[in-house]
Symmetry: C2
Subunit: 363 residues, 2 copies
């Protein structure tokens, strides 16, 4: 009988330590070709509320899948959102609108057993996806940051920044974190709330320059759509850990040795021509519409790094970099397996009738 697990339950069941261990095992498997990662599929279609002009809206159905033989699982994650692109200071930014009753969003992880194919669990995806994003940067940091790294400069203090802090503290014995984001009250609140969770001093600072000065690790955790971090931020020996693609600029990234990306799979993007017609010329219905000078597909990946196909840090002077450029469904096969295992052990979740999902005919 599949277990239904909500975000509160996932949060109780999954530690960053467990999440990073699962991901590290997974990246080794991926490097060896035993785990299976597929490109995610993005579908954009018109929504009733579609506007014309520069800030169109769309219905966005996303799905991603993968399988991990080590964990004996496969996963399918999907989300269904009404998205709007709004002109922000740094370009067009996509926002997911809370259009479900009660101002909610819809995102689910389905976990399957590879032993008999059965559906093991249905989980809200919010907490687990945030953990695996942070955990992925954490796994890379463990390979790339100096072993004695103890200071962090963090740019951004949104919801994702919390797990980035958990992950960097799991990867290294961090003593101090400086955090900058444009709104003072936000960074102060974030510092006050997050410090006790990780037992590390977190100091809000007044500028990006101050945040990245004299630190061992720089973490960017923003929804920027134009890169804001240049090579001047990168002192000798630093590790740059980017949560997404458009945070460090090309000049900064090409200084990293190695520069590692999460994956060189890209999304399969399909868009209704009705949407293209209502948007301004050149507008693209994509997660990352901006063209970059970096050819992401040719860069080494986290599986390459973890499986030893490429070298990590070789000395204390080099500048290393990791860009968590795009997520993979297979992450949920590994991390989801650990959540499911913990839920069974603790008796959490609600059982659903499996026979609703199964049938006596096969297509």
């Amino acid at each position: 009988m599949p277990l239904f697990l909500n975000n509160d339950e996932v949060e109780q069941l999954l530690t960053m330590k467990t999440c990073m261990e699962a991901l590290e095992t997974l990246y080794r498997e991926l490097g060896e070709g035993t785990a299976v990662a597929a490109s995610r599929t993005d579908i954009h279609s018109p929504t009733a509320a579609a506007q014309s002009g520069e800030a169109p809206m769309a219905h966005y159905l996303k799905s991603m899948s993968g399988a991990s033989p080590h964990f004996g699982t496969a996963a399918l994650r999907f989300s269904s959102d009404i998205v709007a692109w709004r002109q922000a200071g740094d370009g067009m930014r996509r926002e997911k609108m809370p259009t479900m009753p009660g101002n909610r969003w819809l995102g689910i992880v389905l976990l399957f057993s590879s032993a008999n194919g059965e559906l093991l669990a249905i989980m809200n995806d919010g907490v687990i996806q945030r953990m695996r994003v942070g955990g992925t940067n954490g796994v890379a940091t463990r390979c790339l940051a100096r072993v004695d790294a103890q200071t962090v400069g963090l740019i951004g203090c949104g919801w994702q920044a919390g797990t980035q802090v958990m992950a960097v503290c799991e990867a290294r014995r961090i003593k101090k974190i400086k955090v900058y984001s444009p709104t003072r009250t936000n960074r102060e609140k974030f510092a006050a709330e997050t410090a006790p969770l990780v037992g590390v001093e977190i100091v809000p600072v007044d500028s990006q320059e101050e945040a990245v000065r004299d630190v061992d690790i720089i973490v960017t955790s923003t929804n920027a759509r134009k890169p804001f971090l240049g090579p001047e931020a990168l002192a000798e020996g630093v590790h740059l850990s980017c949560m997404q693609r458009d945070e460090a600029n090309d000049e900064a990234l090409i200084r990293c040795r190695p520069l590692v990306v999460h994956t060189n799979l890209t999304e399969n993007n399909s868009t209704s021509s009705q949407l293209s017609k209502i948007a301004q010329p050149g507008f693209e219905f994509r997660d990352h519409p901006m063209q970059r000078g970096i050819d992401w597909k040719t860069l080494p990946t986290l599986p390459d790094l973890i499986s030893g196909r490429i070298k990590g840090r070789e000395n204390a002077q080099q500048i290393t970099g990791f860009v968590n450029n795009i997520g993979l469904g297979v992450q949920f096969a590994a991390v989801g397996a650990k959540v499911f295992e913990a839920a069974k052990a603790k008796g959490l979740g609600r059982e659903m009738p499996l026979d609703w999902f199964t049938q006596d005919v096969h297509p």
Copy 2:
């Protein structure tokens, strides 16, 4: 609140007429670029029962999605199966094993509203997928068969053959159907059971040659993995309707004008290297592992035909052909919308709590 609809309910709610009308609308939308079809994603990973040698097993997670602005819906269909490849007379044939408790299979269609993104329905996929396969061939037959076509030669009498008969009878005023399949009792049973459903005479015959002789439409509905129908079967003016790729051979297909395929999207296939190691050299974990001389990607598609981009039948002499080469998730957005609409009208299905699927955070 999403409606849960099982196969029995879908069967009550969906007629072939409605199914074909929905698909015809959809193919026009696809031809115009307004509907959105994405390639399906196939993931093959090792299963606990994986065997070595020539007949390996795998866990197979399939997912496909698409959106139809006309119907205001998007759909995600997925299935999770343990599959085994067995040596049949005509090559390696893939079988889905009933490994769920109660000897069942797992396949689901999720239907979403493009107005606000919400999950409208969860359906077992068996009945709806069979209807859309038949319906797709039916829509093509309506465009390509002679208007006065009244006789059908059917090869195959499995579960899918029933909807093929329903569809051809919906497309044309059929008077008589001859059916052949290798096992006499199967074809006799099929004829006896199916004739009353469509109100048409169905005659079991003793050979493939007899089935296709002097008919206006040939329908193949088999799980063959080596083509079994050659050009000698194709008399002047006939329409050839193939349920899948490997039924008519290359020589037969190139005689068709036009030869139309369902889609030129192909599956994204990802396979664990562990599986490749246990299989014989050259074995491929794919739905259609055999190489064909036909370059499917360059052929006109059903959306091309329905939207008028290519011509259909132009005279009573030409031989026309359609190959339902691969399914699309977007079919479930259109047909699923009609099922959902009918379920609401009739009060069928069980409501599930939507808030299980939604959350107060967005990734």
